[in-house]
Amino acid sequence: MTERIDQGIFAGLKVLDFTWAAAGPIVTKQFSDNGAEVIKIESKTHPDSVRLGGPFFEAKPGINRSGFFADFNSSKKSVAVDMRSDEGRDLVRRLVSWADIVADNFRPGVLTRWGLGHDVLQEINPRAILLSSSLYGEDGPWATLAGFGAQGAAVAGIHGLTGWPDLPPALPKGAYTDSVSPRYAMAAVTAALIHRERTGHGQRIELSQVETTVGILAAQLLQWQLTGREPVRSANREPGRRLHAVLPCAGEDNWIAVDVRTDAEWRGLCDVLARLGGVDLAAKLSAVEAIARAEEVEELVAGVTAGADRFELMDRLQEAGVPAGVVLKGSDLLADPRLRSRGHFWALDHAEMGTLDYNGPAYRFEKTPSRLTSAAPLIGEHTDEVMREVLGLDDDTIARLRADGVLQ
């Protein structure tokens, strides 16, 4: 019993992972961090491109030094194999027979060019669940266009809703479709696993990262169609709120977000401000007046918060019943007591990057805890191990394949 619990929900499940960049690896990470054996297929000539993108550890570029790559690839194995060679493709086909799940996020057509289209994969392994996640989907005029999540976020409408109304759209942090689509992909694959558990049937799953992201803007689409009011970027202003703002705090570029929805919250805010800076906001404005005079309220409140320590202010507002949150920076996140108390970060040791804190999942299972078992793999770190233990190749064969450049 204890052993099973330690292994996680997907213990025993096998995932063949062709994914790269972010949108795909974040999906397969949910499997590896929950006990599945995930084998990532790469090659030294065509590594996961994120290995070539910063931040590099200690600012020294290197194929095994990208923190960007590391975070999405915990608990996985890496096999480096030349997919352009017949023998390389044959080895990969044998891994398809081994797998329960085969995942990719190439542009449509790339796997087919390697002779590994979904039809072929299904024939090799009809019980497998095949996930293809691409930016624009597998058909349509844009299907084969290149693009990353930053392009996806622009097309999906996220950029247009970010920033100041008097300025061009601001780039939203992160390649936004890369964080939305994995959650939907994971739901689809897990549902397919449940279906397979009941029927024995595998199936193909195709998903567009842009479409999943448009899905979370469903209410904005309805607003435009039903009310004729176009949803637009409105900085931090929200109609109907007594205060809905990001306010300065003491120190450099320090901010706090405060959202005052009710009269009780307004009274709490007034109390905290009176104690902090001797400003009697309640005497100047009623809660109802505040709604109509957002700019004035923000200016008055900012005058007080600008001298306050941001973390102390959050505590005081919380105690007064006001929803408030410090605007956390990267370094703040790593020290954040709320994330820390949840065990959000896993310290994992890596041969070239030392011990770094990796992001763990946003969910917690009461009885089958997730566990990040190892840091991101070096490229090809597990080539020999997988050839020997999964495909049963002997050492001589492995040595020959290495000499021929099939294995790397």
């Binding site: 491109s49 993108g53 931040p55 923190g67 844009w142 693009g147 392009q151 976020a153 097309v155 409408g157 996220i158 950029h159 920033g163 100041w164 300025l167 759209p169 601001a170 780039l171 939203p172 942090k173 992160g174 890369d178 959650r183 994971m186 739901a187 689809a188 549902a191 279906h195 193909r204 799953i205 998903l207 842009v210 479409e211 448009v214 469903a218 209410a219 904005q220 689409l221 607003q223 169609q225 990001v246 300065p248 570029d253 706090i256 977000a257 929803p323 949150g325 605007v327 956390l328 920076k329 990267g330 996140l333 007591p337 709320r338 994330l339 949840r342 959000h344 999942p361 946003a362 969910y363």
Partner: protein
């Protein structure tokens, strides 16, 4: 080989109870799309989300929350007074037939209330998956007050949006809440997979803050690798831990595009994209030597001075400003230049690719004057297609039917209704 004949939804036979405001409703919609029977448990008169702002007002003056209309397609509704003894007893009976329960903090309010309801639901059903969504998850900080704005801040995302000389800004939509709902759907299904195989149910809890942290992609690693806190920029920023600024949102003749021509990351695809851009500019008489003065996307990109980046940005910007969105899509994007249109919501509804894929689906909801296009299926499952959308249920529309399924007689139901339990 099995035939390709379509079967039922992947989650056919799975029953989900949902006690929600927004986050759990988003989760419930994912499960309904996948074929589960999702039953909303609402108070008499309907859950607060039904009339929450932003809202659409129908011809009869009735308000309908837009998030409610958007995220409750394909579900059933049962009204139940969870404060009454009889109401809780019906919940326990209903939970015996359920596989997953979804709840969120905006509806439940108090973690202790979640525990009380959970105790009722799991008493006779040890295989039940009980999934909760809280701003900071369950545990030490479960009662910290939070809203969409404060959560975008506490997850580290808000800090990185907007102009450097103004306060940082949110995304103007409840994306943190929605993302936590999608995350909860996948986590609940993982636990359900375990329950199907072992008969063991459990509690799953999701932290909205942690979901927002996962939208950053590299911010915590940038700090650890470089001891650098990323800084925001509006349309010009330091991309992916870069030490220099580059422009990423560009004005064109009739709108904006997203485009990162220089500064690397993305390997060969990005280098090819840049080469194609330079060719295009040359053909159109916009060539300037600065375009090829450095290897803008190579490993040496960190050694190029900011002034050079500014100069190449000016050259590229002057060119883009002369083009329309349509030209940039046809002659840029479709020739593998890594750019994309920045779509407004109205433009999104007419987007060439989405229209060609028949992504948007018309949902008839004349009762609320709310017939409109909704986002279509989030994925195509070859054997178990996603459910066709049905409009959000009327309050309590399925109470009698669901109670009858549980074995309550017509007399029982009349008695419960008289006691205001249903």
């Amino acid at each position: 080989m099995p035939t390709a004949q379509a079967e039922e939804g992947a989650l056919a036979g799975c029953r989900v109870l949902e006690i929600s405001h927004l986050a759990a409703a988003v989760a419930g919609k994912v499960l309904a799309d996948l074929g589960a029977d999702v039953v909303k448990i609402e108070p008499r008169g309907g859950e607060p989300a039904r009339t929450a702002e932003p809202a659409h007002v129908d011809g009869g003056g009735q308000r309908h929350g837009l998030n409610f209309l958007a995220f409750n397609l394909g579900k059933r509704s049962v009204t139940l007074d969870l404060d009454s003894e009889a109401g809780r007893e019906i919940l326990a009976r209903l939970a015996r037939t359920a596989d997953i329960v979804l709840v969120d903090w905006e509806r439940i309010g108090d973690p202790a209330e979640a525990d009380r309801l959970r105790e009722i639901c799991t008493r006779d059903n040890p295989a039940l998956v009980w999934c909760e969504i809280w701003p900071y998850g369950r545990g030490e900080h479960e009662s910290t007050l939070a809203t969409e704005l404060t959560l975008q801040a506490q997850g580290g995302h808000l800090n990185l949006n907007g102009e450097i000389d103004r306060p940082p800004v949110r995304i103007s939509a409840p994306v943190a809440t929605a993302q936590s709902g999608a995350e909860a759907a996948s986590a609940a299904l993982m636990a359900y997979y375990h329950a199907v195989r072992t008969g063991e149910g459990q509690r799953v809890d999701v932290s909205v803050q942690a979901c927002v942290v996962w939208t950053l992609l590299n911010t915590t690693m940038t700090w650890q690798c470089l001891a650098v806190d990323e800084v925001r920029g509006g349309s010009v920023k330091k991309e992916r831990g870069n030490t220099f600024f580059t422009r990423l949102v560009w004005p064109c003749r009739d709108g904006f595009i997203q485009f990162g021509p220089v500064g690397g990351g993305g390997g060969a695809v990005r280098e090819q994209s840049y080469a194609t851009l330079v060719d295009w500019m040359r053909q159109e008489g916009h060539y300037r030597p600065i375009l090829e003065a450095h290897d803008w996307n190579g490993q040496g990109r960190f050694d190029i001075p900011q002034q050079a980046y500014d100069e190449v940005t000016e050259a590229i910007g002057d060119f883009i400003r002369t083009r329309t969105l349509a030209e940039l899509i046809e002659h840029g994007m479709k020739r593998r230049i890594l750019l994309a249109p920045v779509y407004s919501i109205p433009q999104l509804l007419a987007a060439e690719q989405l229209v060609a894929r028949n992504f948007f689906r018309r949902v008839e909801d004349d009762r609320r004057d709310a017939t409109a296009l909704h986002p279509g299926p989030f994925a195509v499952l070859s054997r178990t297609p996603l459910a066709a959308p049905r409009p959000a249920p009327v309050t309590g529309a399925d109470t009698v039917r669901v109670l009858a399924e549980l074995g309550f007689t017509g007399d029982d139901i009349d008695r419960l209704a008289a006691a205001e339990a249903v």
